[in-house]
């Protein structure tokens, strides 16, 4: 089961199978079974990966497969994975299952809903396993339009505005990525002035520093839009809050990670010299995003907006880790991507379930939920605690690693940035505890709440799956760091090559 293309084919086939289902029940079951198979395939890939590594296989990428696609442009369908991609793949398959379970009771056009959700996961898997820039870009754009339709059709509030804004901003980001990729392509030469899209080959090429200075910002900003890089984050709050629950989970849990992964794998890895030159700018923007995001969250009265703004802040940690360019910081950034993906999916899931029952997301209208729906109340509190970085949960591991890694950079700017980022945790604690205290604890504010039903089996299963993953990373972070440390090492070596040659 180590054929990586299964990761693309399986969700694709599931999506097509959904189209041929007759009734609601069949649709849900097909989607669920398909997504469970995805998890099985990804887990088996994870275990065979550990097996291969234990057996002493030291090649950078494992389970590679390549087919020539467009010979004229030297475009290949080239896939392969390392520890970082596996982490992302596991994250994706967990969130897909959780998302499908949470949207068990979608009434409006269920067939199309699950079809688009699964299509979105095709894009995500394809992106994480691609080692060819063209294929990578193909999957990056592939994942945008399902989001537009999911928000536009099933969303709430000002959904038309939000979905259009999201689609255009993400496409704008990918347009920059496109130019960056093409510029990279034309700056490579693998003999006989043949260019290449192959990421591993490009990393061996010595692209001139002048070219890198132009290409790096294009790639970094382009991918940065996906991960809500300040000041291109404005799609995130609107998009998240208008989206239906499962789409928010996918958007924050998977889609924003596409950007982070791209910033790391494509921009930083392929343009090491430029990454050093622009490091200060990334750190600056990331710090602004962290501070601005957390203070903006303080002002929100809607639970979903709150989580959307806090996502901006948390994705800032990812960018901060990448911008610091030390091994620990980059490891932290990867952990933060996974941790934030799981945590925010759980958060959005909990908010969605609460909204479905209480019909409001306004903090001041909610109260005392723990007394009537204890399970959901606890889920919400766990998500919140993970968000504020409580030890034992994944958020702590991730943020701690980023801070430790950042502190290794002695420059003044980096020191200040690290201190500010640490300080933002306090703000996080304020808004999380305030919101949790108001909604979950306290007196019941509305008589209607007395008749609420607690989570059903599907919701419980989804929440527990996410919580187990969060706890797994939080309690035993070492196996996770082991998984990715060899690959962050390679990225770091490429980066130091950048310093030496300068």
């Amino acid at each position: 089961m180590t054929n990586l293309s299964l990761l693309i084919l399986l969700p694709l086939l599931t999506a097509l199978a959904v189209l041929f289902c007759r009734d609601n029940k069949q649709i849900r079951l097909t989607a669920l079974v398909g997504s469970l198979f995805q998890l099985i395939v990804s887990s088996s890939i994870l275990f065979s990966y550990f097996g291969e590594r234990a057996a002493g296989n030291n090649s950078q990428m494992l389970f590679e497969a390549r087919y020539t696609w467009y010979e004229a442009f030297n475009i290949e369908y080239y896939v392969g994975i390392d520890g970082i991609s596996i982490a992302m793949i596991m994250l994706t398959s967990i969130i897909v299952i959780a998302g499908i379970l949470i949207s068990w009771n979608v009434e409006k056009l269920p067939k199309e809903f699950f079809f688009l959700l699964l299509l979105l996961s095709v894009g995500a898997y394809g992106f994480f396993i691609s080692l060819d820039l063209f294929t990578l870009f193909f999957f990056l754009e592939f994942a945008v339009i399902p989001k537009f339709l999911l928000i536009g059709i099933w969303g709430s509030g000002k959904k038309e505005y939000s979905s259009m804004k999201l689609a255009l901003m993400l496409m704008g980001g990918s347009a920059l990525v496109l130019v960056g990729i093409l510029a990279t392509y034309f700056n490579t030469d693998i003999g006989n002035s043949i260019h290449t899209f192959d990421i591993l080959k490009i990393s061996q090429q010595h692209i001139s520093i002048e070219a890198q200075r132009i290409i790096f910002p294009l790639l970094f900003i382009g991918f940065g839009v996906f991960t809500a890089l300040f000041p291109f984050h404005t799609w995130a709050p609107d998009g998240h809050s208008s989206a239906p629950t499962a789409a928010s989970m996918f958007l924050a849990g998977i889609s924003m990670k596409l950007g982070g992964y791209g910033c790391l794998r494509v921009a930083t890895y392929l343009m090491p010299e430029a990454a050093h030159e622009y490091s200060w700018l990334i750190v600056l923007l990331a710090t602004i995003a962290i501070i601005y995001g957390s203070f903006a969250t303080l002002m929100q009265k809607d639970l979903k907006y709150m989580n959307a703004y806090s996502s901006v802040s948390h994705c800032g940690f990812v960018l901060l880790g990448i911008g610091m360019l030390t091994k620990t910081a980059i490891t932290g950034a990867v952990i933060q991507m996974v941790s934030h993906g799981l945590m925010t999916a759980l958060f959005f899931g909990a908010i969605g379930m609460i909204y479905e029952r209480a019909h409001t997301r306004q903090i001041d209208q909610l109260g005392g939920l723990l007394k009537v729906i204890p399970f959901l109340g606890v889920v919400y509190v766990i998500a919140g605690l993970c968000s504020l970085g409580l030890p034992g949960l994944s958020g702590f591991v991730a943020e701690m690693t980023v801070f430790v890694g950042s502190w290794q950079r002695p420059e003044l700017l980096n020191r200040v940035a690290t201190i500010l980022a640490c300080a933002s945790i306090v703000v996080t604690a304020v808004y999380i505890l305030r919101a949790a205290g108001k909604t979950v604890m306290g007196p019941i504010t509305n008589e209607h709440f007395l008749h609420l039903k607690d989570a059903a089996w599907n919701e419980k299963f989804a929440s527990i799956l996410l919580i187990v993953a969060i706890l797994a990373i939080g309690i035993t972070p070492f196996w996770f760091i082991d998984l990715i440390s060899a690959d962050t090492q390679i990225i770091i070596e490429n980066l130091t090559r950048g310093i030496v040659s300068k």
């Binding site: 020539t68 696609w69 467009y70 010979e71 004229a72 442009f73 063209f134 193909f138 999957f139 754009e141 592939f142 945008v144 339009i145 537009f148 339709l149 536009g152 059709i153 959904k159 038309e160 979905s163 259009m164 689609a167 255009l168 496409m171 704008g172 347009a175 920059l176 496109l178 130019v179 093409l182 510029a183 392509y185 034309f186 132009i214």
Partner: protein
């Protein structure tokens, strides 16, 4: 004259045969039933298309005035293919039309003119073909005989077309005056780069730009597209444009090889202007045909971007894009034709809630829109990508950033259609439509084309093989 003549000119001869056959049927009046006639014509067109893939040889006739090779045969097959799909999609409109045969006779005459234009070995044959292609087209535009808008459109087309032809002729005559030749094979060597020749380049280019509806010669497009019957509009936007691009590749690009810098500058300005104006105007349109008109102007800008590279890569990418464009544009036009002939509605706002009543047709339009916008996994993504990649080979990244960002602008108006169909509510949506079998067949071909073409690189390789002389 020997057997070579028949084989070399087989595409023209088979078209001529069909034209005369239809004429005889008209005069003789044997078949009165429109449906039978339409099926009959479609079968003829299919045979004509298939014929285009056999006995393709390279050669010239009439001392070089007419020539053909693999690339030209491929180009003719592409035109034949597009015409067949349009004919299939026109079924619902034509089955009750009084002047069915005239429609086909005029349509095929236009096609014949385009064939001569592509195969022309010198400016005289080329110009003859051009006029043969334009004049019947103007009468086709007027084919909704009782509609005033239709006549207005035809008038606009013929007047501005004549003007453009005049300018182009002026350019040709200046070229002849300075070099003493009109043969494409000799001209590139004789053109040395004088200012008079520069002027003639600009004049000839303007004529082409008019046919392509590239800015600033695009003003006729929207009005004509709106006034013409939908099938004619699709012919104008796909086949006419493709034919002009083909000539552009084989004639114009090699002709001015000595003017490379000014040539690139002209193309650069035209591309920027065309994409900008097309996009800006397309955003504001509510009539579906006008909307597609302006969006097709923007698409032309991207085709020119590919051509500006001046390499085989760019040529191949442009031809590839044109095929993809045929699929995507005809996919949209097919549904618009059906809706327009059944309900008379042509506005984008009328399509609100279309998904509730016609889910399958909605997906066809939406797929076409995605393909036009260049979103994966549709073929349009690959088409645009290759155009932009070949454009980037010149290293002019300002242009590439501009083109890439304009894809986002164009996404806005394509998504507006998607939004109307899927998201917006409507109390009186278009009722459930049942299209005829040929129309559905045409749409199925388009959808398969949109989905398959990109994933399989076979078509691209085939085009490239045809263009490697």
């Amino acid at each position: 004259m020997n057997t070579d003549f028949f084989i070399l000119m087989k595409s023209e001869l088979s078209l001529l045969f069909i034209i005369f056959l239809l004429l005889f049927i008209k005069v003789w009046g044997g078949i009165k039933n429109n449906t039978t006639l339409l099926h009959f014509t479609n079968v003829l067109l299919l045979i004509n298309l298939v014929l285009g893939f056999f006995w393709n040889v390279k050669g010239e006739l009439f001392s070089g005035m007419y020539f053909t090779n693999d690339a030209i045969s491929l180009e003719k097959s592409i035109l034949n293919f597009g015409t067949l799909i349009i004919s299939l999609q026109a079924f619902d409109w034509l089955k009750t039309h009084k002047h069915l045969l005239e429609f086909y006779i005029l349509l095929l005459n236009t096609l014949l003119g385009m064939f001569f234009m592509i195969s022309g070995g010198n400016f005289l044959i080329f110009y003859l073909g051009l006029e043969l292609a334009s004049i019947p087209l103007a009468s086709l535009v007027n084919f909704d005989l009782e509609k005033r808008k239709s006549s207005e459109a035809a008038m606009k087309l013929i007047l501005s077309s004549a003007f453009a032809s005049g300018i182009m002729l002026f350019g040709i005559s200046m070229l002849y005056g300075t070099t003493g030749s009109v043969a494409f094979a000799e001209l590139p060597k004789l053109i040395s780069g004088g200012s008079l020749q520069m002027l003639s380049l600009i004049f000839i280019f303007s004529g082409f730009a008019f046919k392509l509806s590239a800015a600033p010669f695009h003003f006729w497009t929207a009005d004509v597209y709106e006034g013409a019957p939908v099938s004619v509009t699709s012919f104008l936007s796909v086949i006419s444009k493709a034919a002009t691009v083909f000539v552009f590749i084989s004639v114009l690009s090699p002709l001015f090889i000595n003017f490379q810098n000014s040539w690139y500058l002209i193309l650069f300005l035209t591309i920027v202007l065309t994409i900008t104006l097309g996009n800006l105007f397309a955003m504001r349109q509510n009539n579906f045909k006008r909307f597609l008109a302006f969006s097709s102007i923007a698409q032309v800008g991207y085709i020119l971007l590919g051509l500006s590279s001046g390499t085989t890569m760019g040529t191949t990418a442009s031809i590839y894009f044109l095929i993809v464009y045929i699929f995507s544009n005809l996919g949209a036009f097919g549904v618009v034709a059906l809706v327009s002939s059944e309900t008379g509605k042509e506005n984008i706002t009328d399509y609100k809630g279309f998904y509730k009543t016609n889910p399958v047709y909605s997906w066809v339009i939406v797929l076409s829109m995605f393909s036009l916008a260049g979103i994966p996994p549709t073929a349009g993504f690959f088409g645009k990508m290759f155009l932009i990649t070949s454009g980037a080979s010149k290293g002019n990244y300002i242009l590439i950033v501009f083109a890439a960002l304009n894809m986002v602008v164009s996404l806005y108006y394509y998504l507006r259609v998607v939004k109307a169909i899927f998201i917006e509510e409507n109390e009186t949506p278009i009722t459930k439509l049942v299209g005829s079998v040929p129309l559905k067949l045409g749409l199925i071909i388009c959808v398969i084309g949109i989905i398959i073409t990109g994933f399989t690189s076979g078509l691209y390789q085939y085009i490239m093989a045809c263009f490697k002389f």
